[in-house]
């Protein structure tokens, strides 16, 4: 098989672009993938050509069948990311993977939203517990029931002033503050808030990992 300088250049730049796109992967894995794709291109061009002379058109159609380097790398990257998420112990890797998955499927989006909610509430419980330990009188969580409003929307986590009575999570600062409702975690229950926060983050992490293991299908299957 004879490759023209132009064809060789096209292949080289395709592989260089692919290698660049595969940077988030481990170098050995990226090398392995690039080598395999290189072998595929050479075999495909050689196999499709009985004349032994390769045209730019042969190279173009072979590369087109693989997709752009970005598309091809994205399939490997997503698979690698979600594969890593199945065995990771980091909530950040898990959440990042779920965010990527959320762009690809409805189940991914639901898992991501649930995880975001779990991590947010867990983190707020941790913050509230810590504030309670540091500022026993004006740090913590309060319900601020207002007529006609569901209580779940009326959580306040505060340290000091600035309560405008609006619904939702609130943070504040200042000295002249009186809490707007009744307190959820009183002084002795700060450790409970901390423990609940840690537990919720842990369960959310396990839920995200379980969703990935249970429902995620490799990108190659989705795009076939």
């Amino acid at each position: 098989m004879i490759l023209s300088a132009e064809s060789q250049k096209t292949i080289d730049s395709y592989l260089a672009a692919l290698r660049k796109q595969l940077r988030p992967l481990r170098p050995d894995d990226a090398n392995d993938i690039v080598e395999e794709i290189h072998a595929h291109i050479v075999d495909k061009i050689g196999g499709d050509n009985s004349s032994g002379v390769t045209t730019d058109g042969d190279v173009g159609s072979t590369l087109a069948a693989l997709g752009t380097p970005e598309e091809l790398a994205a399939r490997y990257r997503t698979d690698e990311l979600l594969k890593r998420a199945q065995s990771t112990r980091s909530p950040f890797v898990s959440l990042f993977s779920l965010a990527r998955w959320a762009t690809l499927s409805l189940i991914g989006m639901i898992a991501f939203i649930l995880s975001m909610a779990g991590y947010t509430v867990g983190t707020l419980l941790l913050i509230a517990g810590m504030l309670k330990l540091i500022y026993p009188n004006n740090g913590g969580i309060w319900f601020d029931p207002k007529p006609g409003s569901p209580p779940v929307n009326l959580l306040h986590i505060l340290r000091g002033g600035m309560v405008d009575g609006s619904a939702g999570f609130s943070f504040g600062s200042g000295n002249n503050w009186t809490h707007p409702g009744h307190e959820v975690f009183r002084h002795g229950l700060a450790p409970f808030s901390l423990a609940l926060g840690v537990l919720l983050i842990f369960l959310t992490f396990r839920l995200g990992t379980w969703c990935i293991r249970k429902f995620w299908r490799p990108s190659a299957l989705r795009q076939a």
Binding site: D32, I33, E35, E36, I37, H38, A39, H40, V42, D43, K44, G46, G47, A65, L66, G67, E71, L72, R75, Y76, D79, K83, P218, S219, A220, L221, R222, Q223, A224
Partner: protein, 136 residues
């Protein structure tokens, strides 16, 4: 109540895509059943022996994934063509998975064929009538 018509072609295409999606993994495990093959050979086998239209850029990431799941293993082998090729072969877990999937597939397709038998006759009848009309 007003009914919304779904374009028949769109629905048929989606149905076909879903069928192919579900069978690609099994097809790859099947072609690797009794021998080791490299990527392009797998593609050629799928093209010649199945009705699957496989996009080349999707098979390699899938092989990578199957390897990560320990269903296949790979090795680089020097070839006469002057460059090494990455060969894939089934692992014991891959064989197990292929058998399980085949069992499910066979049971499912057998029941579906039974269910669709009378529709098949209808389809043949309609085709014959259309052919006759065309001839006239």
């Amino acid at each position: 109540m007003k009914e919304t018509a779904i374009p028949a072609i769109d629905t048929s295409e989606k149905f076909e895509v879903q069928l192919r999606k579900g069978s690609l993994e099994l097809a790859i495990l099947a072609v690797l059943w009794d021998r080791r093959l490299y990527g392009l050979e797998i593609l050629r086998e799928l093209e010649s022996k199945s009705d699957l239209i496989v996009v080349e850029g999707t098979v390699y990431p899938l092989l990578n994934r199957l390897r990560a799941l320990s269903l296949v293993e790979s090795e680089w082998v020097e070839s006469d063509s002057g460059h090494p090729r990455k060969y894939y072969r089934l692992t014991a877990a891959g064989r197990q998975r292929a058998l399980e999937m085949t069992r499910i597939w066979t049971r499912f397709s057998s029941r579906m064929n039974h269910l669709l038998a009378h529709l098949d006759e209808e389809t043949e009848l309609i085709s014959a009538m259309e052919a006759r009309k065309g001839a006239v």
